[in-house]
């Protein structure tokens, strides 16, 4: 019996478990609250990057509009938490639903392919951004500044656990990140995931074999959007705010850098890449060497260019010995 490809989850379960244990241990040895918060943000961006990997790495659909779904989740949850209640479960659902809902709207872009799809998603992101930052709508959406004063969620059944405490919120994000990883790992290993990869590799051939490819691309787009919305919800809770800047096309660009540097089509790669990007962005500022402090963009840009030129498979490819 020939074996059909196995995922990272099955190939390296011990490695992943070790990584998980490492992440769980972070609050124990992190020097102070600042670093635990950095870790939370790293995980949030990792969730966002993993959702983009489904779309880009597995689905072959690079998008500059992915951050719009992140913003949808952020704003949806911010509005709910501000005006209704901060209960966690509804917020999780709204994060997913807002992302998925906006994705259904943006799915119009799926009529295009390649570079035109890329530009359409960029246009979509900018439309969303301009609506969000529009000062005419500031009454509802907060305009330029966005929505502020968003409370942290309240856990169901365990209201005593205060999520305003950095370590507690960190564990929440970790739990969500693990859940998202497991869900995505199952999806990409499933027949649906394999068919999606076939569409990425050669859509024409898949159609010629009898696949209604649009259905798969739409599903991937919406699932990725939903998960991006979930990341947005966590971000709004973490930052106590939702801002229009999160929808700008460059946010998606940053996520794509994370995916490529980590290694597309591996889930773990993009997650690690995302964590590195956040560490670079936030961590540098606390270094004693002030001259380096604000130059994360230079470093990230240079590293990224190096990867594009010499190691397009990302760090995962390095680990796998360039087998790809």
């Amino acid at each position: 019996m020939t074996s059909l490809r196995r995922t990272t989850l099955r190939r390296q379960p011990l490695g992943l478990l070790a990584f998980l244990l490492f992440l769980i241990s972070v609050p124990a040895w992190a020097p102070n609250r600042f670093w635990i918060n950095v870790a939370s943000q790293a995980l949030i961006f990792a969730i966002f990057a993993m959702s983009l990997d489904l779309l880009l790495g597995y689905g072959g659909m690079p998008s500059f509009g992915h951050a719009a779904f992140f913003a949808a989740g952020a704003y949806g949850c911010a509005l709910w938490a501000l005006h209704r209640s901060p209960d966690l479960l509804p917020l999780l659902v709204i994060g997913l639903a807002a992302g998925a809902g906006l994705a259904l709207v943006g799915a119009l872009a799926l009529r295009a392919r390649g570079i035109f799809f890329l530009m359409l998603t960029l246009a979509f992101a900018q439309m969303v951004w301009s609506v969000l930052s529009n000062n005419q709508l500031a009454g509802v959406l907060g305009g330029d500044i966005g929505l502020i004063g968003v409370p942290r969620p309240v856990l169901p059944f365990l209201p005593a656990i205060n999520l305003f405490v950095a370590a507690n919120f960190y564990f929440l994000t970790l739990a969500v990140a693990v859940a998202v990883y497991l869900a995505l790992a199952a999806i990409v290993a499933s027949p649906f995931g394999r068919t999606l990869e076939g569409i990425r590799e050669n859509e024409g051939r898949m159609q010629s074999l009898g696949t209604f490819t649009f259905r798969y691309r739409l599903a991937a787009f919406v699932i990725a959007g939903a998960l991006a919305g979930l990341a947005g919800m966590l971000s709004a809770s973490f930052n106590f705010s939702a801002t229009p800047a999160s929808a700008f096309w460059t946010t998606s660009g940053l996520a794509m850098i994370a995916v490529i540097v980590g290694g597309a089509r591996s889930l773990v790669g993009p997650a690690v890449g995302a964590m590195l990007v956040v560490l670079l962005q936030l961590g540098l500022s606390s270094l004693p060497a002030q001259s380096l402090a604000e130059h994360w963009q230079l470093l990230l840009g240079a590293v990224f260019i190096a990867f594009v030129l010499f190691l397009p498979g990302g760090m995962v490819a390095l680990v796998r010995g360039r087998a790809g």
Binding site: Q41, F45, P62, L108, A109, R111, A112, G114, I115, F116, L118, M119, L120, L122, A123, F124, Q126, M127, S130, V131, S133, N134, N135, Q136, D144, S235, P244, A245, S246, F248, W249, T250, T251, G253, L254, M256, I257, I260, V278, Q281, E294, H295, Q297, L298, L300, G301, A302, F304, I305, V308, L309, P312
Partner: protein, 314 residues
Amino acid sequence: MGRGPERRSRGPTGPPASGGGSACKLTAIEVALSAVLNGLAFGGLIFLLAAGLSVIFGLMDVLNLAHGSFYMLGAYVGLTVLGLTNNFWLALIAAPIALAILGGAVEVIFFRRIYQRGHLMQVLLTFGLTLVFVDLIRWRFGPQTHSLPTPPGLEGAVHIVGIPFASYKLFVILFATVVAAVLVVAWRKSKVGAILRAGVADREMLGLLGIDLSRVFTATFAFGAALAGLAGVVVGPYLSVYPGMDESILVLVLVVVVVGGLGSIEGAIIGSLLVGLANAIGPLVLGGFEAASIFAVMAVVLLVRPRGLLGLRQ
């Protein structure tokens, strides 16, 4: 999560360095006319950027997101030259030359290696370059806004049908028109233009005709960068110079290229006029939603006629 403290939420044009007209008692017609002239000036500026990007995209299939960075670098080169020599016209010449050299170098060092890798990698490479450039600029010049002083002779305002309009903006309109005319003539009549047009329509054919594609690519890229640099200096006295000006203008240039058509100079002219006017008149009519509308138009064009109004490429 984002690029940093750039002025993202202020909209595409950034804070203007000098106001357009005096602030008192303008009637509706005067406001409208003023807006139209502002739109033409801005459109002229965008054209300088869109022309280069459109030809690069049409010929080389490269979506150069770093085009905005070339614009920004040109502005800062202008700032530096002006600071050293106090001569605006020298800056106007130095910037395009400097950017042509930089553009050519970027093409040779980076792009040549990744042409066969597909669109995504090229686009992402240019995105990486934008990060590097903006950081370098901020490092050297600081995050504050600069503006170039208006060159002597072009200060003040002229009165058009009684409305004061900054002389410099008129200069921008005239300058852009002259450049546009030269480019159109070169595009349609010269041998170089013929080669480029042929390349846009069918790149393989160009190779088969024995033309050295890599030289054409380098030259095209360098030329596009030079135009962007030129735009950067031109914009100095009129809008502001700050690290982040690349980001705000880039999306508008993309809209022009998409709407006007990939690989078409005439398309870039029409697109720039449309976008420039929409950007100026929009706030009066649509009250804040002009940005969304501009991008909506871009989306519609991409869906219905991806090659744009006058584009040749499929």
